[in-house]
């Protein structure tokens, strides 16, 4: 069947509901990838416009204008400037929001200057009545030289109309709606004569931006002495912006009327409470508590269930599959490994659920506003709050979220300290250690001791982040302009579909990203643990039999053989060789291996111990990881391996150490240098080692 496929790019300011329109157009037919070489999310989806026409919809990152100030915004410009890009759109759909139409149109007029067929979507049309807004659509269409689709992604109206406009994109005008070159006629005339084959606005963008665009190289323009000083350029850009707003204001004066009497202003009322000098903070900390509550206690129910299910599945596989190497691999390597990944889903999902609701509702901007002054004392920005909170899910998206911090110094400090916040991957490590060393008692009858310990660890991580930021702020000498601008969007009830899709997508990315590493490591660990060099491993059974006969040792033969084998396996040998370094922290070689492998991803710690212990124990009954750990006996002292001293030492190590390779990789990408990730690695891990050492030596 021959169906034609159109390429559509969705462009728009942040907070215009662009993603809602994308979700409405594509439904579940979407996938998230990466632009080559950079870590900007590339969201693409397929929309069935009519029985015979399909469209690939590309949801470009939100941008306020075509003057890029961040990596995300660069993506938009680079695509629109390069006709040869495989994603270059047949039609551009600019999404605006009815209440902020004036500001949103600035970007629209810029896109029109690129002479791409452009459709204007005016979203959130359901709010018009409430805000007393009326639009003269035919007039606006004529003046803006476009077709308009009034859409309400909330009420799901207008999407069919938009689809029709996309199908008939050839009827769209590609004429610019104003002549921006009037800001300096001589200069632009000159430019036009020198490059008769190039679009004037493209040339202008190439001159003002610091990037190359497609086949038009920046240097080509530079040699023609068209480049002006930075101050001159900025003055021209200001003139350009004024010019565009003049045009927009003139158009809207006729086409857009607001009856202020009819408008009800919920925003002002909500702002008064949410940014109140007392209640504002109370509400914010209340929300934080709610988030932590959900991670600590609500998600434990599905997590326990997952933990137990995988333990029984593993036992079931071991019993029912024909004995052999493959069965061992499945029951001792793959199943526990998979369990170690899936167990995170509830916590990750809860975290992204909250973050997504806070962002969608417009509340996050208020938090930034409330916290900016406080954060600045520590060299951070109000915008650092978002990375620091997201850091409780995973440091990788958190570090990426630091991108919209304008000041380089504040951004760098945010990137450097974010890994201190307790990410969800550390949670299973904490959870299992706490359940082993802290009794399940209540303090004063209310506070769960285990919960309090967990809370303390979170506070420790957060405190350390703030403290290091303070130190870094004193030490770092980074020059650069410091400024801060944040839009305060109107409050909205989050759309279920947006939130749900966001949670699914983020959880999926995390599970598959980290999952691959965890699964691969589980299999490698299993192999290293069930094979060994030399005769000791092979002849384990005879050696143990002999020793039993000579009464040198006592105990169940099977268990003894298993643990002897483990000690003489590859993993045992590796573990023993690093033991001298970790012994002063109270760790044996099994814990050592878990600590080392967990550098791939934190949660691997639990998975590794699970793998090591399930390799080590041959009893058929199903045991959960916790029971296995609790049963570990230190052969020297005869006490439990996971006693208070070792447990606390481990907890502190995980609270402060550099978390994982992926964090280092993302820091490298975002700072564009190996210097900063290395500083993180050495400083954080060194500090963690010292703290754990001191703690163990005092407690033991």
């Amino acid at each position: 069947m021959s169906t034609s496929t159109l390429k559509v790019a969705l462009i728009g300011n942040p907070n215009t509901g662009k993603t809602s329109v994308f979700n409405q157009l594509t439904g579940l037919n979407q996938k998230v990838g990466n632009y080559p070489g950079i870590t900007v999310d590339k969201k693409q989806g397929v929309s069935k416009l009519s029985p015979s026409v399909k469209a690939t919809i590309l949801d470009l990152p939100g941008t306020y204008s075509l003057n890029a100030s961040s990596l995300d915004e660069n993506v938009v410009i680079e695509l629109l400037m390069n006709k040869n890009d495989k994603d270059f759109p047949d039609v551009a759909v600019v999404v605006t929001e009815v209440e902020n139409l004036k500001r949103n149109l600035l970007l629209f007029t810029q896109i029109k200057d690129l002479e791409i067929p452009t459709i204007l979507v005016i979203n959130m049309s359901d709010r018009m009545e409430q805000k007393g807004i009326t639009l003269d659509i035919p007039y606006l269409e004529k003046e803006l030289k476009t077709k308009i689709a009034l859409v309400s992604s909330r009420k799901k109206t207008g999407i069919e109309n938009l689809k029709n406009l996309i199908i008939n994109y050839k009827e769209l005008s590609t004429e610019p709606c104003l002549n921006a070159s009037e800001i300096d006629p001589d200069y632009f005339n000159n430019l036009r004569h020198t490059f008769p084959n190039q679009l004037l606005y493209k040339l202008w963008l190439v001159i003002t931006q610091d990037v190359n665009f497609g086949n038009l190289h920046r240097n080509e323009v530079s040699i023609q002495s068209f480049v002006k000083s930075e101050a001159e350029l900025k003055r021209l850009q200001q003139k350009e912006t004024i010019k565009r707003y003049q045009f927009i204001n003139d158009v809207l004066k006729v086409g857009y009327t607001v009856n202020r009497e009819a408008a009800t202003d919920i925003r002002a009322r909500l702002d008064r409470v949410l940014t109140h000098k007392f209640f504002g903070y109370i509400i914010f900390f209340g929300i934080l508590l709610l988030i932590f509550q959900s991670i600590f206690s609500w998600s434990s129910i599905p997590m326990d269930f997952i933990d137990e299910s995988f333990a029984s599945l593993s036992a079931y596989a071991a019993e029912n599959l024909p004995p052999g190497l493959l069965t061992d691999l499945i029951s001792e390597g793959i199943i526990p490994g998979l369990g170690g990944i899936i167990i995170f889903i509830p916590q990750i999902a809860f975290l992204f659920l909250f973050i997504s609701i806070l962002e969608e509702s417009g509340y996050m901007s208020r938090v930034v506003f409330l916290m900016d002054k406080i954060m600045r004392r520590f060299g951070l920005s109000g915008k650092s709050v978002v990375p620091l909170i997201s850091g409780t899910a995973c440091a990788i998206p958190a570090i990426m979220a630091a991108r919209n911090i304008e000041s380089w110094k504040e951004r760098l400090i945010t990137i450097l300290v974010t890994p201190f916040t307790t990410c969800s991957a550390r949670l299973p490590v904490y959870a299992i250690l706490i359940s082993l060393i802290i009794p399940e008692k209540h303090l004063l009858g209310i506070f769960n001791l285990q919960g309090l310990t967990l809370m303390t660890l979170y506070l420790l991580g957060f405190g350390m982040a703030i403290f290091s930021a303070y130190i870094l702020n004193k030490i770092l000498k980074v020059k650069g302009k410091s400024y801060f601008v944040i839009e305060m969007p109107d409050y909205k009830v989050p759309l279920f579909k947006n939130v749900a899709l966001n949670v699914i997508e983020k959880t999926k990315a995390f599970v598959f990203g980290a999952g691959k590493i965890i699964l691969a490591l589980s299999v490698i660990l299993w192999f290293l643990g069930s094979h060994g060099p030399g005769g000791n491993f092979k002849n384990a059974e005879q050696i143990i039999e002999q020793e039993l006969a000579q009464n040198k040792i006592s105990g169940e033969k099977e268990d003894l053989v298993a643990s002897y084998k483990l000690e003489n396996s590859y993993i045992g040998i590796i573990g023993k060789s690093i033991e001298p370094v970790i012994r002063p922290l109270g760790y044996d070689w099994k814990i050592g291996i878990a600590v080392v492998t967990s550098f791939a991803a934190r949660e691997v710690f639990v998975g590794t111990l699970a793998t090591i212990y399930s390799v080590g124990s041959h009893s058929e009954e199903e045991t959960t990881i916790k029971n296995r750990m609790n049963a570990e006996i230190n052969p020297i002292t005869g006490g439990k391996v996971f006693n208070l001293a070792t447990g606390v030492s481990l907890l502190l190590f995980y609270a402060f150490a550099m978390q994982c390779i992926s964090t280092l990789a993302i820091t490298k990408k975002e700072t564009n240098s190996w210097k900063w990730p290395m500083i993180q690695l050495v400083f954080m891990s060194g500090f963690a080692y010292v703290v754990s050492l001191v703690a163990y030596q005092i407690l033991q």
Binding site: N67, K102, R103, Q238, R272, G280, Y281, F369, D372, M488
Partner: protein, 77 residues
Amino acid sequence: MKITLAQIKKGQKALINDFNVDVIPLKLLEMGCLPGNTVELLQVAPLGDPLYINVNDSHVAIRLETARQIEVEIIKE
């Protein structure tokens, strides 16, 4: 008397007169913070900084140091 955006009171409206382009971020200009436009101070953060303003119908928050660079004229109601 010349005053700046940092000096107006909560709830007051003012007209933007002029500012030094070099120190004002382009992003703020794009939000509509331009000479000739009106600006209203909506909220001041609890510690006196940043300021939450409505400029040219855009709702944005900026820091005091930026506000000090923007010369305004109070509009008498």
